[in-house]
């Protein structure tokens, strides 16, 4: 078996929902041993609760919530693969002591609570450093560890409007929108994994750990840097699919219900190729070779392109434009993505086992392909408290001790006993 880059790294992970869990999944994918620690009495909210969730439609169509709904949520199961799962009651002295014993064996601890939570638990960076001097702590509060909003809750759907992203997302001239998924969570996850990796590089060089923080808010604002490239941002409102550098750059309606094709023109050569394909006389004016001229009549250009696309199949348009050397693609649904020939050819979507008798499902591979030490998918997302035995191995506890802890409600799987 090939070596993985992070296989010598152990991470104790208190994060939950999307951003934090995804950050730690990315690190687990590179080979880190990640032990996800959930509260004994309150599972990760992305599990949907111990009882079948009434507000979060997260279960498989085939079989529904089942007997253990908390292990059958696609949300939790999509961002926790390659991790071990244990539970601990950190509010009890014994649970907290066991947690600190785990930290003694670890390289990294991660959490995405508001700042007061770890402080109130007595598990701030200084306390962790006392038991493991080279520990790296990743904190991922929505708004960061400082500033007036630091204790405010935040998730993707509230971070997106506050980052400027929602202001720019929407149909031109229309109303601001938020993304179809809680997208800033995913960006927070990318930043969280990046922060830990940079801190590990630093520790390899200096031997010193540190405390790194991710503000999901700032991570999302960083995605919009190009809009500040001309000085202080002016605020045009929703952009549709328009671009600062490419004209036209749009998605156009094609033949059939909800069929669309994306077309980008990067330069004058692309423009000539598009004009040849579309053939509309109005597009043949020589001055339209200039980006500024095209920008001044973008609506008319879009109308001419739509008149050409609307009666044609999106896949035919894609074939013709790609054949002409243009950036173009039929807009794919997620079902189409699962059948994408490019992803199939590189083997990027892997059929991955799922817990609780759910049929194996294709899941995305590793985010970066390290050619000598590639990451790999090793196990499905853990059930709630599935790996108590790991706790035994790490802390030298025998089966009798583990059973006793379970009886006293400090560890265990599923709903706590009444």
């Amino acid at each position: 078996m090939q070596r993985m880059s992070l296989e010598h790294i152990r991470i104790i992970d208190l994060t939950q929902a999307w951003a934090g869990s995804y950050a730690l999944q990315l690190l687990a994918d590179f080979g880190a041993e990640v032990i996800k620690v959930e509260a004994r009495s309150r599972p990760d909210p992305w599990r949907g609760g111990f009882e079948a969730s009434r507000g979060l439609p997260c279960y498989p169509a085939d079989g529904g919530p089942g007997v253990k709904p908390y292990n059958r949520s696609y949300l939790a199961n999509s961002v926790n693969r390659n991790k071990f799962g244990i539970t601990l009651d950190l509010t009890t002295p014994e649970g907290k002591a066991m947690f600190l014993d785990l930290v003694r064996t670890a390289d990294v601890v991660s959490e995405n609570f508001t700042p007061r939570v770890m402080h109130n638990l007595g598990l701030g960076y200084d306390e962790l450093k006392n038991v493991q001097p080279s520990i790296i702590l990743l904190s991922m509060p929505a708004f960061g560890l400082s500033g007036p909003y630091r204790e405010y809750p935040g998730i993707g759907g509230t971070i997106e409007p506050m980052s400027g992203n929602a202001w720019l997302l929407g149909e031109p001239g229309g109303t601001a929108q938020v993304s179809g998924v809680m997208y800033p969570d995913a960006i927070g996850g990318l930043n969280g994994a990046s922060a830990v990796l940079a801190a590990l590089v630093s520790r390899e060089a200096t031997g010193l750990g540190c405390h790194v923080e991710v503000s999901q808010h700032e991570g999302m604002i960083a995605m919009l840097g190009e809009f500040f490239a001309h000085g202080e941002m002016e605020s045009p409102g929703p952009l549709g699919n328009r671009d600062l550098a490419f004209v036209p750059n749009g998605i156009y309606r094609a033949l059939g219900e909800d069929e669309w094709v994306a077309i980008a023109v990067r330069n004058a050569t692309d423009w000539e190729r598009l004009v040849e394909c579309v053939g509309a006389p109005s597009l043949r004016a020589p001055e339209l070779h200039s980006l500024d001229a095209r920008r001044s009549c973008e609506n008319q250009i879009d109308s001419a392109i739509t008149a050409w696309t609307v009666g044609r199949a999106a896949s035919d348009i894609e074939s013709e434009l790609v054949g002409a050397g243009l950036p173009a693609a039929r807009v794919r649904s997620m079902r189409d993505v699962l059948a994408c020939p490019q992803l199939a050819a590189t083997g990027y979507l892997e059929l991955t086992p799922q817990p609780e008798g759910i049929a194996p499902a294709p899941t995305p591979g590793i985010i970066a392909n390290l050619k000598r030490t590639p990451g790999r998918i090793r196990m499905p997302a853990p059930g709630h408290g599935e790996h108590s035995s790991v706790l035994g191995q790490l802390l030298g506890l025998d089966a009798v001790s583990l059973a006793d802890l379970e009886t006293r409600g400090i560890i265990g799987a599923g709903p706590p006993p009444p």
Binding site: L75, G157, T158, A229, I251, A329, P364
Partner: protein, 369 residues
């Protein structure tokens, strides 16, 4: 004591686009020395230079000719990481050959659609990657225009993936003394970002789709809009109690935990009398203090003046030694060492200004551009 995470790491950025440019920016923000190596040709991303290139050194070198290639090889000997996003296959192959000669070097190569496979040679762009990844299909209103995320966000996602790959390879190198190639496809990285939607599609036979209204969970208030996420029954009951809202019993079926998701317009009507008398900030502060997630809809132009972002030093500016470019402000990084404010002021290099300083010690006479 100030901590610079990547102090001592030298990276070369050999790119034409936002993918390599933003990856280099991530390295600069984390403390690495980044040398941007440009061909003598005009830069295709010149207008984004103030966003991407602050804090980098700039070298101009024609490595397509043998003397330049020899200089680049020697520069590789001094580097830990090379980041590239070249599209011309012959140029990409040249870099790969040069990088392979240095056993300790990590070469992270970023593409839109992949290094191999049926789409590898297609022309591409951010919009194409967004359309192929499923992102556009999810954004927008059902039956209406699918939308990409604003700007070139698939390129930035690829850059973050490239940064992670380079860091993981550096960590491995500290154990094994060996570098390696790292490949990133923006399409694969975006599909990875959408992992929950990928699994939802298998679990729920074809979902997800675009939502039925543009407003989603945005609500009008006196001076704009706020988003309110009512993720639990407790949040719902808290809002009703604090705002003194009592739903008409005949409407109660619209406001159960199961039905609220499908009745956002009815909730908007229910909340309107209260929200329209309050400002964005009043609603935001009220609800956040009650632990109910709420966000103000803000334009990007408002952000540099926001009290929280000001307090955190979230934006930086160009130093006065960068004449001719707008001073900013520009968004800072998405992660930092806790308690440290990222560099508040960065210098924009003049194109090629570090060529002689960095290459002269490596060069044979007559080979500098």
């Amino acid at each position: 004591m100030s901590i610079s995470l990547l102090k001592g790491v030298r990276a070369l950025e050999i790119g034409i686009g936002i993918k390599a440019g933003f990856c280099g920016k991530l390295l600069v923000d984390a403390g690495a020395e980044v040398i941007k190596v440009d061909l003598p040709d005009p830069s295709p991303n010149g207008e984004f230079s103030v966003w991407l290139d602050r804090g980098k050194a700039s070298v101009v070198l024609d490595w397509r000719i043998s003397e330049g290639r020899d200089l680049l090889r020697r520069l590789f000997e001094t580097a830990d990481v090379v980041i590239s996003d070249l599209e011309v296959p012959a140029e990409r192959a040249t870099l790969e050959r040069l990088a392979a000669k240095q056993s300790r070097l990590i070469h992270t190569s970023l593409t839109d659609l992949g290094h191999q496979g049926p789409f590898a040679k297609r022309a591409s762009s951010d919009l194409v990657v967004s359309a192929l990844s499923g992102m556009c299909y999810i954004n927008g209103v059902a039956g209406r225009l699918p939308l990409r995320e604003p700007g070139n966000q698939t390129a930035i996602v690829a850059a973050l993936a490239g940064f992670m790959g380079a860091m993981a390879a550096l960590i491995d190198r500290s154990q094994t003394k060996l570098g390696q190639p790292v490949e990133v496809s923006a399409l694969e990285a975006m599909v990875n970002v959408l992992s929950p939607s990928v699994l939802q599609c298998s679990y729920q036979a074809g979902a997800p789709f675009r939502r039925s209204t543009a407003d989603g969970f945005l609500f009008d208030c006196a001076d704009g809009k706020v988003s309110i996420i009512i993720s639990s029954q407790r949040s719902w009951e808290t809002i009703l109690e604090v705002w003194g809202i009592v739903p008409d019993p005949s409407e109660a079926h619209r406001f159960t935990e199961q039905s609220r998701r499908e009745n956002m317009d009815a909730i908007r009507q229910l909340f309107a009398p209260f929200l329209l008398s309050k400002t964005r900030r009043e609603v935001f502060e009220d609800l956040c203090l009650l632990r109910v997630p709420c966000g103000m809809l803000m334009s990007p132009g408002e952000l540099p003046l926001d009290e929280h972002l000001l307090a955190r030093g979230s934006f930086d500016t160009l130093s006065r030694s960068s004449p001719g470019a707008p001073a900013g402000p520009y968004p800072g990084p998405g992660f930092r060492v806790a308690g440290q404010v990222p560099a508040a002021e960065r210098r924009l290099p003049r194109r090629g200004e570090d060529t002689a300083r960095l290459l002269a010690p490596l060069a044979r006479p007559g080979t500098l551009a």
